[in-house]
């Protein structure tokens, strides 16, 4: 290795360092601090972590979190798959518009979309008004301030995150296998299920991971549409900190949520190409 090359490496690192240093000092370090607080406040030790075993509301909140994230994921995968399939395998007409419609929600903030759902799903919201106006119901339905409202809004937010990986995967699939199967007499459904679908699995798994992991940390939507009873962990954390100033419990829950997220990602590494799922999307 010539000395010149060595200094080049240093120069490349000089390009990398500012961003990396800022990230480590102002992002990673505060996260490590959170871990520190969780074992030192209100007193040193693992007392906060004992709550995971002792506190029923905390356990319930974790169950709610995983349940909501799982249901959201399932719905997003099914709906996202249908959209992606239509985009790549349906007629050419309208494909551009379809892609644009999938991407559009990305640009509208979650807050505004949650607001839209409040307008739609409230007791005197537009959906209830319309149904009552048509005489289909005589009393307003309970569409929000419950898990249903949270789920519908979360699926709405997460759906594009499911569509993109599946679409990216379908893009690379050669239709000729399916056509061959059809030529050999397989029904359209069989050809899809036996030949096409298995090829799209990587995209589906990638989408599942992305949607599930992002759903675990959801705060805005459950807080606005959950009526205080769909208490996901993120809301529980803010509740502990803002209402009771219990930083120990709040940070402990944060660390646990972070670890849970990490475990999910690592467990998924066996089935999902993490590099493609996170590092190379864009």
């Amino acid at each position: 290795m010539t000395p010149g090359l060595l200094t080049d490496r240093h120069r490349y690192w000089l390009l990398i360092l500012p961003a990396l240093a800022v990230m480590i000092i102002f992002y990673i370090w505060p996260l490590v601090n959170i871990l520190g607080i969780s074992v030192t406040e209100p007193e040193p030790g693992l007392g906060n972590y004992a709550l995971l075993a002792e506190s029923r509301p905390i356990q319930t909140s974790f169950i709610i979190t995983f349940r909501v994230a799982a249901i959201t994921t399932v719905f997003c995968l099914v709906l996202g798959y249908i959209v992606s399939y239509a985009i790549y395998n349906a007629s050419k007409r309208g494909v551009g518009l379809m892609v644009a419609l999938v991407l559009l929600p990305f640009w509208i903030s979650v807050l505004i979309r949650s607001f839209s759902w409040i307008v739609l799903l409230g007791r005197s919201g537009l959906v209830n008004d319309a149904l009552m106006g048509m005489g289909l119901i005589d009393r307003p339905l309970r569409l929000m301030h419950n898990e249903f409202g949270v789920l519908i809004a979360m699926v709405h937010v997460m759906l594009p995150f499911a569509v993109l990986p599946i679409m990216a995967n379908m893009k690379g699939i050669d239709r000729s296998f399916v056509n061959a199967a059809r030529g050999l007499g397989a029904s359209e459904w069989t050809a899809f299920w036996q030949v096409y679908f298995p090829q799209t699995k990587p995209g589906v798994l990638s989408a599942a991971l992305l949607v599930f992991v992002l759903s675990l940390g959801f705060y805005i939507t459950p807080a606005l549409l959950g009526g205080g009873r769909v208490l996901m962990i993120s809301e529980y954390i803010t509740y502990q900190i803002q209402e009771f100033l219990k930083w120990g419990t709040g940070t402990m829950l944060s660390v646990t949520l972070l670890v849970a997220t990490g475990v999910v990602i690592l467990a998924a590494a066996r089935f999902v190409n993490l590099r493609r799922a996170f590092l190379e999307r864009g």
């Binding site: 029923r56 509301p57 319930t60 509740y239």
Partner: protein, 377 residues
């Protein structure tokens, strides 16, 4: 240290004021008078404050603090020439103590609560109230302490929407738990404050025995269990505005909310679609405390507190913001239309209980845990 002051209520009160101001119901002058009565600014008494170079009144800020500052800065200084500093940073017990211990006291009069007044008094960081200057007889019974004195009151009350209930409104907490005859969603606070009392009364416990019943674990469990039974009909409010909004959007037909928010709702809701009863309400006072070595001096602070006892001012502030007069002499001066909404009218006082800070200091943390569990599990 346990700080049992309900910080959120204090912050909420300022928001209520700002809300009124934005609505145009409060004139600028009325707004200032109301804030003065709330202790957000010193009164423009006839020379009462002439000697003070500056008086720092500390309250709980809130999103409205900017408006307050703007309005106060302009006019008060113009009227008296006395610079006023309004500090909306929230005089929690911890902050008061830290300030006194650091030796750099910049606060004169703070809006605190009974629990903090007692604890801070014991710790020797606040001054005893000079009852030669401040008139004890101008404060409702049970709202004077050695180190603090009531400056206003508010209640947790049963509010309902008669329109949604076909005119059949709940009169007692037992009615609220009666889902069959009183359908619809209810709203309760995200915290147990002022809530466990209503569940206990719903079980038939007499108001005066509520805290005794809640004194045992069984009593607490029973109250919690009441919430577990009702939870499918509960939407939780986090902030005062939250509770107001739930009524405005007709998401709930009844609930346990602050009387100050009810005060706003009575004007905002259509005629005949909002009412409250103070029956079984929980009354809580706001309390003035004066930190040791306050910069304007003890005398000035006490004079200010005494001045704020003026019944007419207190009525004014009931009209404008909905917090009840701490001075019993104010009740007769309340206009008839407002009497039912006054938490400290003799009629309403008779049916309410006084918020028990000691109980909260001892039991709140454990009860909160059970409460959340009951609502979500």
């Amino acid at each position: 240290m346990t700080d049992s002051v309900d910080h959120e209520f204090r912050r909420d009160l300022v928001e209520v004021a700002a809300h009124r101001y934005r609505e145009g119901r409060l004139t600028r002058r009325g707004f200032i008078a109301a804030l003065g009565a709330l202790g957000v600014l010193p009164m423009m008494g006839k020379g009462a404050m002439a000697q003070a170079s500056e008086l720092v009144i500390v309250n709980w800020g809130g999103t409205a603090a900017d408006i307050i500052k703007e309005v106060l800065g302009d006019t008060y200084t113009a009227e008296t020439g006395v610079p006023v500093v309004i500090d909306g940073s929230g005089p929690s017990a911890g902050k008061i103590r830290a300030m006194v211990e650091s030796g750099a006291v910049v606060w004169d009069v703070c809006d605190s609560g009974p629990g903090s007044a007692i604890i801070l008094g014991q710790q020797g960081v606040i001054q005893p109230i000079d009852y030669n200057v401040v008139d004890k007889s101008k404060v409702i019974e049970g709202a004077t302490w050695e180190y603090g004195v009531g400056n206003y009151v508010y209640s947790y009350v049963l509010a309902s929407n008669p329109k949604m209930l076909g005119g059949n409104t709940p009169q007692t907490w037992a009615d609220v738990w009666n889902v069959k005859d009183f359908p619809g969603m209810r709203t309760f606070r995200k915290s147990v404050r002022g809530m466990l009392e209503s569940a206990t009364m719903a079980m038939g416990v007499a108001p005066e025995d509520v805290y005794e019943a809640l004194g045992t674990q069984d009593g607490i469990d029973a109250a919690i269990d009441k919430f577990r039974q009702l939870r499918e009909n509960i939407i939780v409010w986090g902030s005062g505005s939250d509770s107001q909004n739930l009524f405005l959007q007709e998401e709930v037909s009844m609930g346990n909310i602050w009387s100050t928010r009810a005060h706003l709702l009575k004007d905002e809701m259509e005629e005949g679609s909002f009412t409250v009863t103070f029956n079984g309400g929980v009354l809580s006072p706001g309390v003035w405390v004066v930190p040791n070595d306050n910069p304007a001096g003890t005398e000035e602070a006490m004079k200010f507190i005494a001045f704020a006892q003026d019944p007419e001012l207190q009525v004014k502030w009931l009209e404008l913001i909905g917090s009840g007069p701490a001075n019993p002499a104010a009740s007769p001066l309340v206009p008839d239309a407002l009497k039912p909404w006054n938490p400290s009218s003799p009629e309403n006082l008779a049916t309410q209980i006084l918020y028990n800070d000691e109980w909260y200091a001892k039991n709140q943390i454990a009860a909160e845990e059970l409460y959340v569990d009951a609502l979500i599990n």
